[in-house]
Symmetry: D2
Subunit: 266 residues, 4 copies
């Protein structure tokens, strides 16, 4: 076993598929598909998500096709339901994706609560998750950081729980570490932080909490140099994962303190 290699035995398994990369990336908001491709490669991403309602994967033969930049034989496509605000809408969208992608059944479910905040509508998300699981999809599900809901989504049969760190596109970083930790400690499926990461340390923190992966789009695509930021995020996810596995020192007030900080100050 080679501890240092991300290609070693520390693999991410989602719905029976195995990956050495723990950084999932979005494909939106780039200048063009060439930048998308270069950033995706710099990120070392193996799973790439795409908004099935917004991106051309062959619907319009006269336009550039994302799949030329990110060929499905090299990347695991993760169609998502961005822009859907009801359970029914997401189910329809996932079925469309499956059709367009020849029976591909891995999807990322997101039902949004409103356009302004992009917070998830967790009630509709539960409804949609049940329908999609029943319909044979492998559902990776965007949700809030509510541990009770995360458990319910896992019970329904979702393949991965994807709690937000903060609102989509906010770059605020992880707002509630204890909620994420609670989800991670209790889940038997992968937990992948989705939304809210702003910079490399945010991704590292998510991994240090024990998350299995991080998905992001705006933090990379919106950076001044998206390709370099993609590289930063790749390293940060690997760094956070390695730190989690290596077992950090406890926080103490001083090296000479006999016990860790005690929760009275902080």
């Amino acid at each position: 076993m080679n501890l240092f290699s991300p290609a070693g035995d520390d693999l991410l398994t989602v719905a029976g598929r195995t990956f050495h990369s723990r950084l999932l990336t979005g494909t939106g908001k780039y200048k063009d598909f060439d930048e998308t491709r270069r950033a995706t490669e710099a990120a070392g991403a193996q799973i790439v998500t795409l908004a099935i309602r917004r991106v051309n994967i062959g619907q319009d033969a006269s336009q550039p096709n994302l799949l030329d930049a990110l060929p499905p034989d090299r990347f695991t496509l993760l169609p998502n339901t961005a822009g859907c605000y009801t359970a029914d809408d997401t189910v329809r969208t996932c079925r469309l994706a499956r059709e367009l992608l020849d029976g591909h059944n891995l999807v990322k479910l997101e039902v949004l609560g409103d356009e302004r905040t992009l917070y998830p509508d967790v009630v509709q998300t539960l409804v949609a998750a049940e329908k999609l699981v029943a319909d044979g999809f492998d559902v990776m599900v965007y949700t809030s950081d509510d541990p009770i809901l995360a458990r319910r989504l896992e019970e329904i049969g979702c393949a991965a729980i994807m709690p937000l760190a903060a609102p989509i596109g906010s770059g605020l970083g992880i707002q509630n570490r204890y909620n994420l930790l609670e989800i991670v400690e209790n889940a038997k499926v992968p937990v992948i932080v989705d939304a809210g990461v702003g910079t490399a340390s945010d991704a590292a923190i998510a991994m240090e909490l024990g998350c299995d992966g991080v998905l992001m789009n705006t933090a990379i695509a919106g950076a001044k140099d998206p390709v370099l930021m993609a590289h930063a995020m790749k390293l940060a996810v690997e760094a956070g994962r390695a730190a989690f596995r290596a077992g950090r020192i406890p926080r103490k007030r001083f090296a000479s303190a006999s016990s860790p900080v005690d929760g009275l100050v902080g």
Copy 2:
């Protein structure tokens, strides 16, 4: 130029020497010199610091010699004055180091305020820095995160400013980001965070603030798996540096917000 390679043109220059690694490591607190060596290599460190009063670099021929594990032709040695509580003591210690190391004049100055906290004594530090600079040393100086003192130490002629993130060995992470930022924005010599890092994200944050490097010892040597943590820290420093150069997105309450967070909440 290859943006992604730490061996590219994004180099750290200290006292005329050039390095591609921005992670400096200590050599104490390991199980044995073999673990020291393996962790140092996993960290990719090129500058390694050693407590001249505590470690055998040849003073005792009957004992293992650190320089066998970390040969000076591969690593830049940075003798430090750990355990010194007065300016005079540090000056003596630095001269001893120079003698033992055949005229090597790069040193890390630390004058500690007390044994319990290991906070620097900044007044004695200023006195010692003046003497050492006058005596021809290249002085990398451990200090508090006080921006006015950092400037003074630079004016004295120190080769690098090394503010603490938190007390030595505490693992508390960066306590005062604004102080570090102020030091970084005004310094013309490298600013290297020294002390207080606990895990990978702490190192990434230091680099994202614009620091030129990070020095650590306990966070690696005290981890459950020191060699894996050394690797994590290597990646974290590279991640933070790349994120700094890539230009992060601003924090906003939502993707749809027209301006960044405004300092009223947080």
Copy 3:
């Protein structure tokens, strides 16, 4: 108008009732009813919540009765459904409370997700809220800090939204300020932080965010000196409220900075 008096025109209105105190307190976990009474008075609370399944308000004539310590003519009683894990159970409990209290229809709804964490079960909470509102109750509802759910609970007709700051009894303080802010800015009914406050500054922060009140129990009852802590919390809620109304200065890096901090560091 007297800006300084909590009895001035800055009143809290819940379900048509008006209060000058914005600190609501629980009645559990005290040594005895006398301590409950003294802490409640030190807190200046006008609304006191009681776990209808756990406390004697006359069910057992041979035991001390909470209503002797906190007479209903001086305090607005807020029966809560602590210990209920399903919508049905909470509805039954609220009806029992209404019977015991001669038609009193103000209740605090909480449906818990599990015994270990005491996180709310928001799905069951929505179901119960609909039933209780339909049954004529004035429902103050304990929930997560999910802004979309908060809006839904308001649409159902709840009289107050009571998001957690952190898990019940944790003392962790406010974990997600942006979620609370989002709830506050959009609600037309009072928003009262319920659960997670640990010390006075936590309560002040909740009020500074614009919350209409704070409810707590453990932070007071579990303090070394509960009566003094009750007094501290009274002052903290008033302080936070006054600071919110007074309009704080923006955070800037220095007095001389021309604009507030910009969301890039923090």
Copy 4:
């Protein structure tokens, strides 16, 4: 003993003088002396600081005199050396103050490092403190949050240590809680946080750490409603003090957790 009254036996003693208020206020930046007076009264301040080089306390008989608004028989005046950048300058300024105020020897020493940041110059501060103490002044000293320097200033004979929370006028709140805690736990003279408070909760946090008082100016004078903010700060300081004395509950992940948070997450 009345625990709740700030006039009870929980008094602040500085240089032999005794005060029931722990909120010290500045007198600058107000619209006019009438607003200064109203804010000072709302703050309940008993010690008021004034920049001896900037404010008219009788030097110019044709202009309004601050002492008419804040008569010395009601308030303890604390002349400060704002605007001084060298030890010599501060000593001269303190002597001038003593002359103008008929032998009054209580002063607040501040030697600033530069105009842009207003950070203290701690080296010049030490020099000035020695001279002023030798010259018979009771010296309350503005300094950084460096615990080693705080101890040195106390050894020199300063009457109170006044570490910053953040830069003067920044409103950033307390940047380094552990440094303040370390100062507080080791000082035998009062520790009064001076500079950096932005809103009520910041003041409460300072007091919860065990500080003996808080001094502020911009946070009050710069608020939209300075008089109401002064009232908020009065309550916040009292709240934080009471919470400190009452002994807060420890932070735990859940009520059911058997031990406090352990320093691994946070």
